[in-house]
Symmetry: D2
Subunit: 350 residues, 4 copies
C-alpha cells in the first residue's frame, strides 16, 4: 500500500487503554499492517510490555507522547483517546493522514446534541462534518472514501446492527423501543475508579446512567435517519461481573402487518452476505461468551407472550466488534483490503 | 409455642438443595426454632455437614428419607422439594402440621394454568384451594391463619413487591409491562447440568426460557387479581455469573395522570412500615450485591427519556427474600412471632 | 456494661474501609453493643449508607472526622485506620478508653523490625509495649486484661492458628516452613488502584510481594516466641478473583518421631474446646467458601507423598476471623462477655 | 503436504470436550490444515455448532461416531478421548496415520506405574513403547520422527518447562521439590459433576487430589530421567474460579553453589531461542491472565527469604500450551512445518 515493504504503517494514539491494547493485539496479527507508533502520554518512555505484560511476546515500538509522534512515518492513525482531547489532536494531524477514531468525538452530527451530552462546545466542527459514521455493514461505501472515520460506540454497534434494517423496512414500530443492555466492565476502560474495583463488581449487577447514557443519542441519530422521523429510545445499561462482552435485549412492538418470522427473515437476508454478523438458528440463544475476543455480532429474534410484540437480542465483544475490531474492519475498507483481514480469530470459549 | 423448651420444632423436607441449606443456615440462628428433622432422599443417612460442609459447625440431625420422618416431632414443615413430588408428599402429611412450601406446586390457583405450565394435572387440587400465596407484605392476614402457605417464586417476589401497589392504584398501565430479569445461578438449584457448569456461566450472559418461564403466569395471576382484569406481562430472564441475587428492570407506561414522582411516593408510603422492603433514595441505584444474604428487597424508580414512561428496578437475594427468608418470615407470621425474628442479618458486602 | 441501657458504646475509626464496613455489619447484630461513633475523614458528613448502601437498613450515626469524635461517648474504639496514622491517633486517645486496633501498628514488638518493614520509626513505642497481640485462642488471658489489643493480620491469623500448636509441641520442623497463600481482593481494602480493578483480577491469578510481604515477620515473631529460637518462613501470597477468603497451604517437614496422624490429633485436641477453629474430618478438604462471612477457621492435615513431610491447610474469611470478627471476639473477652456473642452467623454458601 | 490442495487433512477424535473445541478453534485458523473429521459419540449426527455455538461461524464437518470415521480421509488424528478408551481406539487406527494424543494413555512409560495410577492394566503396551512424550521444547527431534506423540498433561507441561533445565544442570536440589498449583476449572473438562457447578466454584478456592494427583508420577518420570536418579515431588493442585489458566509456584532448594541469578540465567539462556517460553523480566511477575488463549508459557524466578532457597513460578493456558496448542505445535514438528504455524495468537487480556 505504502512504504517499502508494502505494508500499511500504523500509529495508535492512546495505546494504554484496553481499546489500545486490543488494537495492538489484533494489528500484530494483521498481515498487511506494521505498527510504527504507539502513544500514551502518561506512560511515555515505557515499553508497551510494561503497561501490558500479555503483549510481551511482540516486538513493538516504545510508548511516546503524542506530541513526539512523527506523522510522516504512518499511513493511518487509530485514535483511542478520551473524548474532547481527540478533537484537538485530530485537527492538528496532517491532512493526508487517514484517521480511524474510536472516541465519541465525531459520532454525533448535530453540534447542539454534542454540546448537550458532552458538556462543552465541539472544537473541530469542520471535521465533524467530514467524518463518516463507521458502522461498516451499513456505511461501507462512505467508509471506503473517507479520510476520517468515527467508529460507533460499543452499545450503538450492537443496537444498530439489530435495529437499522427493521426500522428501515418498517417491520417494527419506532415507538417505545426499549433497550436493556448488560455489559462487562472493560467498557469503562482502565480508568481507576472505586466503582470499577473487583470487590465492587464481582457477585452483583446494577443499572447505571439510567436514562442518561451518551450512547442513547447516538442510537437515536442513526435510527431517526433511516426512519425519516425523530426516534427516542429507552436505553438502560447494566454493569455485570465479566471482562468483555455486552448483550442487549430489545423489546419492540411489531410494525403494521409484520410478524416475528418476518423480522427474523429480514435480518437473515440482510446479514447473510456479511462475514461478521449472524442470526442464530431458531431455538438457539445469543450468548456473549460465544463472541468473546472475536469480531462477530450475533442476533436473535423471539416472539413475546404479549401479542404484537417481539424480543430481540444482540451481542458482541465490546473491545472487538464494539471497538478495535470494527476500527480495523474500517481500515481494511479504507485501504481497499479484504474486509476480514486480521479479524478471523474465532471466539475464545470457555 | 409447642414442646418442652418452648421452641417451635421444625422439619425441612428437601434439605440438600441450596434452598434447604439456606433454610438451615437461617433457622440455626433463629431464637424461637429448633431443627428436628432434615430429609434428603438421595443423601439419607449422611450428616448434613457431608453434603454442606459450611454447616459443619452446627449440631444437626442427620439426613433421612422423607418416608422415615416422624411428623409428631415437628410443628411445622418447610418443603423444598421439586414440583410435582411436593403435592403428593404434602397431601400425605398430618392435617395438623403447618406447612410452608417453597416449591411451585401451590402457587397457581387455576388448575388448567398449572397443567399447561407444569405439564401434568395437579394431584392435590383440594390443597391448592386451601393454600395461601405467601407474599408476606401483601397477604399477612391470610398467612396468619393459614395451615399451608405457598411461597412465591423468587422472580415473582421481586416483580410483585414492585408492581402490586402500582397496578392496584392505577399508577401504571397494565399493558406492555416488560420485565427484564437478571439472575445468579443458584436460582437453578444444585442440579447437575452442563448448562450450570462454571465454565458455561463465567464471563458471559444470555437470556433463557425466553417468553416461556413458569414465573410469568404467577406474576400475571397476582397482578390480574389486583387489577380486576387479565394482565399479560413480558418476562425475560437472563443468567449471569454470580451465585446469589437477582435484579429486575421493569419498563412501564405511566397510568393516566401519574408521574414518576407519584410512583416513587406510592411505593415509599406503601413500604415505609415494612422492615424488609425499601425504596432507595433518589439518585441511588439498587444493586443486587447490596442485599446479598439478607431478607431485604430494594426498589428504585427512574424517569425514562421517553415521555410518559418509567424505569423500575427491584432486587433481592433469590435464596433469602426470594425463598428461604420469605418462608421463615411466613412462619413467623403463622406462629404469631415477631415477623423479623431470625431474619435481621445485614447483607454481606463485598 | 457502661451507659444507661447497659450496652457497650462503640466507636469505629476508619469506618469507610471494607474492614470498617464489616465491623458495622457485625456490631449491628451484636446484642451487647451500641454503635455511637463512626469516623471516616474523607467522607465526613455523609451517612454511612451513602458510602455503603448495603447498610442502608440500619440506623447509624453519620460519618465524622476523627478530630471531631467525642471520646466520652464510647467505651471502646475499633481502629481500622491505615498503618502509621493509627499510632498517633491512638496515642492521643483518653487513657481509659479500650482500643481494639485492626491495623499493623502494634503487632511487631521489635522496634527495628517495625522500622525495617514499614519504612519509618514507630511513633508510639510506649504503646507498642503495652499492646497485646490479639490472637484470641492463644492470648485469651492477656487480652482479658488488656487496654490495647493489636489484632493479628489476616494471613498471620490463618498461619498461626495452624502452626503455633505444632511448633510448640515440636511436631514439625521449624526449618523450611513454606506457606503458599491465596487471597481474595478485599485483603487490599477499598483502595483505588489499577491493580485492583475488576478487569485486572478476574479470570487470573498471580503471586505478589514475593518474599517481601509484611505479614512474614509477624508470623515469624510469634512462631519464634513459642519455639524459643528464631524461625524464618517462606510466605508467598497470591491474588485471586474472589471477594472474601484466604486459604493457606503450608508445606512442612515432620518433627522427630512425629506422624501426620499426630499432627491431626494435636490440632484436634487443641481446638476441640474452641468455638471458632475446627479441624475438618479426614477425607474432607478445607475450602474458603465454607467459612465465607463467618468467624470460623478450618484446618486440614494431609500426608505428603514425600516421606517425612505433611501438607497443612488453613482457611478463613479475611474480613471476619482475619479482621473484624476476631476484633469483636477480642472485645468480648476484654469486656467479660460470652466470647461468641454477635459472631454466631453461619457461613454464607453459595 | 498430502491431498490435492496441499493441506494436511486432520481428524479430531473426541471433539466435544473443551480440549476438542480448542483444537478446532486453533486448527480453523491454521494455514496448513483442513479439518476433515470430527468425532463425538454422544453427539453423533449433530453439527459442531450445536455443541459449541461459539464455533458457528466455521464451516465444519458434522460430528460422527468414531466407528464411522473414514481414516483414509486424514493424515493425522488428534485424540482428545478419555483415558483408557484411547488405548483401544488408537491401537485400531491404520498404521500409517500419525497420531497426536492428548489423553494420559501414553505418557507413562512404566506399565506398573500406569496400572497403579489409572486403576487398570494398559491395553496397548506396544504403542506405549513407541509413543514419544511430546514436550516439544525438550523432545523436538524425537517428535519429528514420531508416528504417535503423547502430549504431556497441562500441569506437567508447566512444571517440566520450568524444572527440567534446572534439574539437568544441578542448579536445584532434587529433594523436597514442592509444587503448589492453581488451576481454572476447564482442566476438569466439560464433565457434568456437582463439583464443577458454578455455585460450587465461584468465590472460593480449595485444594483437591492432595498428594494423589495423576500428574505427579508424570512429572517425576521426566525429572528422574534427566536427573539420573528417582525424584519424588510434592504436587498439590487447587481449584479456583477462572475458566482457563494455571499457575504453579514451585519451592526449591538451590543446588550446590547455585544462586537465584544462576537459575534465572539458565532458564533465560535455555529458552531464549524458543518462541513460546519466556522468562519474565526481573521485577515482573508471571500472571495466568497474561497467557490466556495463547500458546505461551511464562517463567519467573525469585529469591526466597530463607537462605539457599528459591521461589519459581510458571504459568500457561491449560487448554492451549497445556493441551491443544502444544498438540498442534507437535503436529507442526511432525510434518516439518514452521513450529509456530497457527499458534501466533496473542493472549486475550482482559
Amino acid at each position: 500500500m505504502s512504504k517499502a515493504n508494502g505494508k500499511i504503517e500504523v500509529g495508535v494514539l492512546g495505546a494504554s487503554g484496553y481499546t489500545g491494547a486490543d488494537l495492538v493485539r489484533l494489528l500484530a496479527a494483521h498481515p498487511a499492517t506494521e505498527l510504527r507508533l504507539l502513544t500514551a502520554n502518561a506512560h511515555a518512555g515505557k515499553p508497551m510490555a510494561q503497561v501490558y505484560p500479555h503483549l510481551g511476546g511482540l516486538d513493538l515500538p516504545d510508548l511516546i507522547k503524542v506530541e513526539d509522534a512523527d506523522w510522516d512515518a504512518v499511513d493511518v492513525a487509530f485514535c483511542g483517546l478520551p473524548h474532547g482531547t481527540t478533537q484537538e489532536i485530530i485537527a492538528g494531524l496532517p491532512a493526508a493522514l487517514k484517521v480511524v477514531d474510536l472516541s465519541a468525538d465525531f459520532r454525533l452530527t448535530d453540534a447542539a446534541t454534542y454540546a448537550q451530552w458532552y458538556g462543552h462546545e465541539h472544537r473541530a466542527l469542520h471535521l465533524q462534518e467530514e467524518a463518516v459514521y463507521g458502522l461498516t455493514e451499513h456505511r461501507r461505501a462512505e467508509v471506503k472514501d473517507a479520510r476520517l472515520v468515527a467508529c460507533p460506540g460499543c452499545y450503538p454497534t450492537a443496537a444498530l446492527l439489530l435495529l437499522l434494517p427493521l426500522v428501515a423496512e418498517g417491520l417494527i414500530s419506532s415507538e417505545d423501543i426499549i433497550i436493556d443492555a448488560k455489559s462487562g466492565v472493560t467498557g469503562a476502560g482502565r480508568s481507576v475508579k472505586e466503582a470499577n474495583l473487583f470487590a465492587e463488581i464481582a457477585e452483583g449487577i446494577h443499572p447505571y446512567a439510567v436514562a442518561a447514557h451518551r450512547h442513547a443519542p447516538e442510537i437515536e441519530q442513526e435510527l431517526s435517519a433511516v426512519s425519516g422521523a425523530p426516534i427516542l429510545v429507552n436505553f438502560t445499561p447494566h454493569l455485570m461481573p465479566m471482562n468483555r462482552g455486552e448483550l442487549l435485549t430489545t423489546y419492540v412492538r411489531l410494525g403494521e402487518g409484520a410478524s416475528v418470522e418476518a423480522l427474523r427473515a429480514a435480518l437473515g437476508a440482510r446479514y447473510d452476505p456479511e462475514p461478521f454478523v449472524r442470526v442464530v438458528p431458531q431455538g438457539a440463544v445469543p450468548a456473549s461468551r460465544h463472541v468473546r475476543g472475536s469480531n462477530f455480532c450475533l442476533l436473535g429474534v423471539f416472539p413475546d407472550r404479549i401479542p404484537g410484540r417481539a424480543i430481540l437480542v444482540s451481542t458482541l465483544d465490546n473491545l472487538v466488534k464494539g471497538s478495535s475490531g470494527q476500527a480495523i474492519q474500517n481500515m481494511n475498507v479504507m485501504f481497499g483490503l479484504e474486509e476480514t483481514l486480521g479479524l478471523e480469530q474465532q471466539p475464545l470459549f470457555p
